[in-house]
């Protein structure tokens, strides 16, 4: 097992080197999966202010007034992605790179 364990790593480095480089050099996860490198944000122009995301958020990170765009408090957000699933208006987006993400504190 020790001999074959590196295979998944070696093949991904070989064929997807740019993805590793994106993580290392630009702190950017192209697939937007790595929690430390992404952040969730509410699009102000799409948000109808229904409050569904705020109600569902397990860490109480989304707040706002009804009928006005809500906002995600990055320090509280645990990057679970539930808000994206419950939003009917596609108003939550995931961003990565350019300093987005909370680092390893998630």
């Amino acid at each position: 097992m020790g001999q074959t364990a590196p295979n998944p790593v070696l093949t991904t480095i070989k064929f997807f080197r740019e993805e590793y480089e994106a993580h290392i050099l630009h702190k950017y996860c192209p697939a937007k999966k790595c929690k430390a490198l992404i952040s969730y944000e509410v699009l102000t122009d799409k948000c109808k202010g229904c409050g569904r995301c705020s109600k569902e958020c397990p860490s109480g990170a989304i707040a706002g007034e009804k009928k006005k765009p809500f906002t995600v408090e990055q320090e509280k957000c645990v990057r679970c992605g539930l808000c994206i699933n419950v939003c009917k208006f596609g108003a939550v987006q995931v961003l990565s790179g350019n300093g987005k993400g909370a680092g390893k504190n998630v």
Partner: protein, 180 residues
Amino acid sequence: MKTASQLSKHTSSSPLAIIDQIVRDHNLDEGSAIVILQQIQAAFGYVGKPMLERVSQLTGIPASVLYSIVTFYTQFRLEPVGENFIQVCHGTACHLAGAERISEVLQQETGVPEGKTSADGKFTVKKVACLGCCSLGPVVTVNEETFARVTPDKARQMIKEKRASCQCGHSNAEEVATID
């Protein structure tokens, strides 16, 4: 699995007598240590240290060796499990389908960290390598029941239902009321 039927088969005997019987059934076979321990777990739900010592006395296999076997294989549990033994599949397909989220939700809902049992004995939540239903991921099993294509919502609902139908004798009146 076998827990219920095995238990009822042995209910008249004392715990030690059950172990003695299992060991006697297998003692003549070569290399039966794992089989003996599996049957003890099937009867009691776990393999505790006093049980290991009893097996050791009867078979002559040092308790340390038995302990090393029990800690090597993931199937064995040294502590009793909760009434609802929840296994979350973390095979590759389920991982891709979002098993991590399901585990998080189950931990939140039950309040139990991975691999542990809740204080009221209702839930044990555990990750498993692969349950082999890869096209139906994420897969969760609760005791013998298998749930396919589990979503965070379904997982939450499932815990609520299990909590309401819990047979462990705790008062459920409050929880039942909140579900409807």
